[in-house]
């Protein structure tokens, strides 16, 4: 028999199925954590430090304890021994400096927003009221905010006991790795050298559902509901942090409303809610306000990127040196130190460089901790290299796409070993680019740009390019091991055919908006020949889905989806044995297609539903076959997958106001084979919005005391559909060779690619005035100031010196407004 299913008449893979999830979600039949209240639930509220760095002199909780409805008031001192230290699963270097990370501050607070006390009360309102009655005395300490000054010797320290603000320095050198040459040599020999410093501003994940935790200690196990991306990791980490035996903890991620990395965390509040439930012996629920998310949920990005690029005069890049400072904030969270390191593997992007050196120093400051945010290290890397390619093009007066073409890996060169030590399995940058250029009308827009420049139009036009790739499908466990990550990257699935022929698919990935239920139904439907409607997907509960590593890093489909494929194939194998027995033939004589085993050359056959019933009754099974039609698989990928694409942005810059309007945006993504084009489209649109938001709108801003001044959506500007252009998207499909579906992952592509496309467009629109950078977000004021400064300096400056190459000699921003 052949286990490979013959394509049914209309395969599910590739169908634009509407999501199974939506009917329930859009009609409000939802199961958010905050919707649930087991009998006797009390409500938890957390008091947070208003100051960024201080010693706690005293906390007076006596009045709060006396207030109506209050069950308990707990301070850090009360749980100092019990609470343990929050986990960091990614110790990037052996000598990494890591502070103790208590869920609740005990002696000192290190960022504004850190928990200092908590109240459990009969109602959420009473708990909130009691917070106002807690009196905390703070003794101010020096506040450390700026990454660059924090990294210098002699800076005031965030954690006195560490003796430094530097967490770790991680390097990659192509000479040491044996992947290429010496970057210093390349820079010395360069015919053109471009030096730039870019600032990745701090961003705040703006998932729709605020975080919420409910812990019920009244059963044999503690049951923890949490708005998390990582129920499996959370279960293990609760056990490791608090010492509660792992088998006594069950974690459920019910409906979870978005995450973007912001819920890839083991949070202080999860531990605190757990401890309060343990103390009171009754269910305890904590649900945050949006402003709590903003100040205490982890932030993303926040890097200073110094780059030096060496090239020949014909545009061939010969080396890239990257020197990063990455702001960890006050503590290391789950994967904080590893986020910038993920970028190390991506700065070379789709290009063939001869030499590469990457250095990143992680730095502590008195700000909210940073951690994964959609793309996690890869958007930062992609931004830097794509901005540098444009800068190189400008230095050489070449078309920026031509510069890219000269340097990228051609489709004939795959698989390709990169300078960063990865092997790209497949790709076709030419095809995606050709299609995008055609859709965009590149040449017409360039012509219009020339005309506007010649006319001196108030509104100038810029064209921005981003030809990106990313690594996703996290991850081969051996690679994670080599990067000192504390876990593997495999994924698990179980496929169970029920007695009536309906199917349950268990996945260890944990959806929070990505449409796993629909996509997994499509995948398994094709594999088993069972109707799409007859498949249920179970996830997000460590009891029903006991093994898994959850959802982040665009891993679910490329890793978890493959586990489901493998489990399905095992089911078909097993069903074949039973079917052969039922049909009294040899397994080799069976063909399996569209859910039916047929004896080749006859009209005899049996459907998988009949096989399922036979397995259930077990009246007559072949020797050695267990009475069920279930199978499970754990899949550890051999390699990452490498989606890529070409994004083109045309932006209009109003030179009087500095306002930026995206006029058109075209992207052609290659995410490999597509399970459901509707879902892919949704991911691309959302991703684009998020990447454009970094380019133009979003920024976490702190005042000199370390107070976050953008702690509401009135000040932290998340764009809406009103602010975004109509996206024109298309796809090329170059199958990944590393997995049987040929899929790559699409969760982060739009976010990674779009940011540099937009900023390149903004700079391109006003480069002829002398502007070479605008710091993100490219707010109207920053654009206007960059223009004003460029105009005034070009008015006073003598003709610039001869020769190629430019550098921002002061280490600041080359003619870019930074206010």
């Amino acid at each position: 028999m052949t286990a490979t299913p013959v394509s049914p008449s209309e395969p599910e893979l590739g169908r634009a199925r509407k999501r199974k999830e939506d009917a329930r979600l859009v009609t409000g039949r939802t199961r958010w954590t905050d919707n649930m209240s087991p009998p006797g639930t009390v409500h938890l509220a957390v008091l947070r430090s208003p100051v960024a760095h201080a010693r706690i002199s005293s906390i007076d909780t006596s009045e709060a304890r006396r207030m109506s409805g209050v069950h308990a008031v707990v301070t850090g001192a009360d749980i100092a021994q019990r609470q343990g230290s929050l986990p960091c699963a990614w110790p990037v270097t052996e000598d990494m400096k890591a502070p103790d990370a208590p869920s609740m501050a005990v002696d000192s607070v290190n960022f504004a927003g850190e928990a200092v006390a908590m109240v459990a009360a009969r109602s959420a309102a009473e708990a909130r009221d009691a917070l106002d009655a807690i009196d905390v005395d703070y003794e101010d300490l020096d506040v450390v905010l700026d990454i660059e000054s924090a990294a210098r010797d002699g800076s005031p320290l965030v954690h006195e006991e560490l003796g430094t603000n530097r967490n770790a320095t991680w390097t990659f050198d192509s000479v040491e790795a044996g992947t290429g040459g010496d970057v210093e040599q390349a820079l010395r020999d360069a015919e053109v050298r471009v030096d730039r410093t870019f600032r990745q501003q701090r961003l705040i994940p703006a998932f729709m559902e605020p975080r919420s935790v409910l812990v019920d200690p009244t059963g044999e196990q503690y049951t923890v509901w949490s708005a998390t991306q990582v129920p499996h990791i959370l279960r293990t980490m609760i056990a490791m942090t608090l010492g509660t035996p792992e088998h006594k903890v069950r974690v459920i991620a019910p409906d979870v409303g978005g995450g973007f990395g912001g819920k890839l965390q083991v949070t202080p509040e999860e531990m605190l809610t757990f401890l309060m439930a343990e103390q009171l012996g009754r269910p305890v629920k904590w649900t945050e306000s949006r402003s709590e998310t903003m100040i205490s949920g982890h932030h993303g990005r926040d890097q200073v990127q110094r780059l030096s690029l060496a090239a020949r005069a014909d545009g061939t890049v010969t080396g890239l040196k990257v020197d990063l400072l990455a702001d960890m904030g006050a503590y290391l969270r789950l994967v904080s130190p590893g986020v910038p390191i993920l970028g190390a593997l991506m700065f070379n992007s789709i290009y063939k460089f001869d030499a590469y050196r990457f250095t990143c120093t992680n730095v502590f400051t008195n700000k909210t901790p940073t951690d994964a945010y959609r793309g996690a290290g890869r958007p930062e890397a992609t931004f830097a290299i794509e901005r540098m390619m444009d800068e190189l093009a400008a230095e050489l007066d070449m078309d920026p796409m031509e510069v890219r073409r000269r340097n990228w890996i051609s489709h004939e060169e795959f698989p390709f070993d990169t300078i960063a030590g990865l092997t790209y399995d497949s790709g076709n940058y030419e095809a995606a680019t050709d299609r995008a250029m055609e859709m965009f009308g590149y040449q017409q827009l360039r012509d219009e740009q020339v005309q506007r420049r010649q006319r001196g139009d108030t509104v100038q036009l810029g064209i921005g390019i981003s030809t990106f790739t990313e690594m996703c499908g996290l991850a081969p466990s051996r690679v994670l091991g080599s990067l000192s990550y504390g876990a593997g990257g495999w994924e698990h699935s179980q496929v169970r055919v029920l007695p009536t022929g309906k199917v349950e698919v268990v996945t260890g990935t944990s959806p929070h908006g990505q449409s796993h239920v629909t996509a997994w139904s499509q995948i398994v439907s094709d594999r088993l020949g069972v109707p799409f409607e007859d498949i249920e997907v179970l996830h997000g509960d460590t009891q029903s889905s006991p093994r898994g590593l959850d959802t982040y890093g665009s891993r679910s489909l490329a890793v978890g989806g493959i586990a489901a494929v493998q489990a399905s194939d095992k089911v078909v194998d097993k069903a074949g044995k039973i079917a052969a027995h039922m049909l009294e033939c040899s397994e080799q004589d069976l063909d399996f297609a569209e859910g039916r085993f047929a004896v080749r050359g006859t009209d005899k056959g049996v459907g998988i539903t009949d096989v399922a019933l036979a397995a259930f009754t077990a009246h007559d099974l072949p020797e050695g076959v267990e009475p069920n039609l279930d199978a499970e698989a754990s899949y550890d990928p051999e390699n990452f997958s490498f989606p890529h694409g070409t994004h083109l942005c045309a932006a209009e810059v109003d030179t009087e106001t500095g306002g930026v309007r995206i006029r058109s945006y075209v992207c052609v993504d290659d995410v490999g084979s597509v399970v459901n084009p509707l879902i892919v489209e949704g991911q691309v649109h959302g991703g684009l919005a998020q990447g454009i938001a970094q380019a133009l709108y979003e920024e976490a801003i702190h005042d000199e005391d370390g107070t976050l001044t953008t702690a509401t959506f009135a000040d932290y500007l998340v764009p809406s559909t009103m602010d975004l252009p109509e996206f024109r998207t298309d796809r090329t499909e170059t199958e990944a060779t590393s997995n049987p579906l040929g899929v790559k992952g699409v969760g982060e592509a739009g976010t990674i690619a779009s940011t540099p496309a937009v900023v390149n467009a903004v700079v391109d629109a006003i480069r002829h005035y002398g502007v070479t950078d605008v710091r993100m977000p490219c707010s109207p004021q920053r654009v206007w100031r960059a223009l004003s400064e460029a105009r005034s300096s070009s008015a006073t400056e003598a003709e610039s010196g001869g020769g190629l190459g430019s550098s921002d000699s002061d280490g600041g921003f080359a003619t870019g407004g930074d206010r």
């Binding site: 909130r128 106002d132 500095g658 709108y697 920024e699 500007l717 764009p719 109207p780 004021q781 206007w784």
Partner: protein, 284 residues
């Protein structure tokens, strides 16, 4: 985001509302559409002991003509203002400005009078009301009184209304036949104005016979750009005349700095946007 405890009453007449307020002293807050007050309560930036909801006071809703005046009830929603023919005909600037306020949800809940009495200098409706020389009719324990818009806006979030008074309606002279424009500049569609310029002009015989210009977010209150108005009088609305007039936009302003704009940029914007507002109004 849970407000502190407060008592709540919903009177059905202006007199009852005023009586309730005056007996509550200064510790009461008036609730109109709730688009500003509710966030303030939920963030505990205010903790009144009493909230007086005007939502049931029917006489405070609606728009009517009275002779040379257009009267807009303080509790009229932005949505109702926007779709009202009288407003379009006699107060085009109000209609155009209201269109830029937030989004449909906010415009259905938020009220004309609520925006004005909240007196956020970044609020869009203040500058048009000031520019159009509106009169605010307020009711208090000793009856009603009219306050001219120029006297009404006192400071950031502060008006000439006493704690025991409520804004009942706004009376606007009719600007029938005037053209208008509101030039709003903000970072994202739902953000407050960085700067806004409200203008309405009467063009007669190819010349600007009368002009009104108000600025949003260029000081602690909305600002009347009188220098601009004077410069325009009698001028043909040429590019040059508008440029010269707009150059006076920052006279009398006291703009602040925030994350979106420092003072110099804000002043620059005021000039640019004034020019654009005038050009659009004069050509419409």
């Amino acid at each position: 985001m849970i407000p502190a405890e407060f008592d709540y009453v919903a009177p059905s007449t202006v007199e009852e509302a005023v009586r309730t307020l005056s007996s509550a002293g200064e510790d009461a807050k008036v609730l109109a559409g709730g688009q500003s007050l509710l966030p303030v309560l939920r963030m505990r930036l205010a903790d009144p002991s009493l909230v007086v909801d005007l939502g049931k006071v029917a006489e405070m809703r609606g728009i009517r003509e009275e002779g040379d005046e257009l009267v807009i009830g303080a509790m009229t929603s932005h949505h109702d203002v926007l779709r009202d023919d009288l407003v379009s005909e006699h107060a085009g600037l109000i209609a155009l400005t209201t269109r830029t306020v937030a989004d449909p949800q906010v415009r259905h809940r938020g009220t004309f009078g609520g925006s004005i009495t909240h007196a956020d200098p970044a609020g869009d409706l203040l500058a048009p009301v000031l520019a159009m020389d509106a009169e605010m009719v307020v009711a208090g324990p000793s009856g009603r009184r009219n306050i001219a818009a120029r006297e009404f806006f006192v400071d950031y979030f502060t008006t000439a209304i006493e704690p025991d008074e409520i804004l009942v309606e706004v009376r606007l002279p009719k600007y029938t036949g005037w053209s208008a424009h509101y030039e709003k500049f903000n970072r994202v569609a739902q953000a407050w104005s960085v700067v806004g310029v409200a203008t309405t002009v009467l063009v007669e015989g190819g010349k600007i016979a009368r002009a009104r210009v108000g600025l949003t977010n260029m000081g602690a209150t909305p600002i009347r750009a009188e220098g601009v108005e004077q410069a325009l009088l009698g001028a043909a609305p040429t590019e040059e005349a508008i440029r010269q007039a707009a150059a006076r936009a920052t006279e009398g302003t006291s703009a602040g700095s925030d994350a979106n704009a420092d003072v110099d940029y804000r002043e620059h914007l005021a000039e640019v946007l004034t020019g654009r507002a005038l050009a659009t109004a004069a050509s419409s």
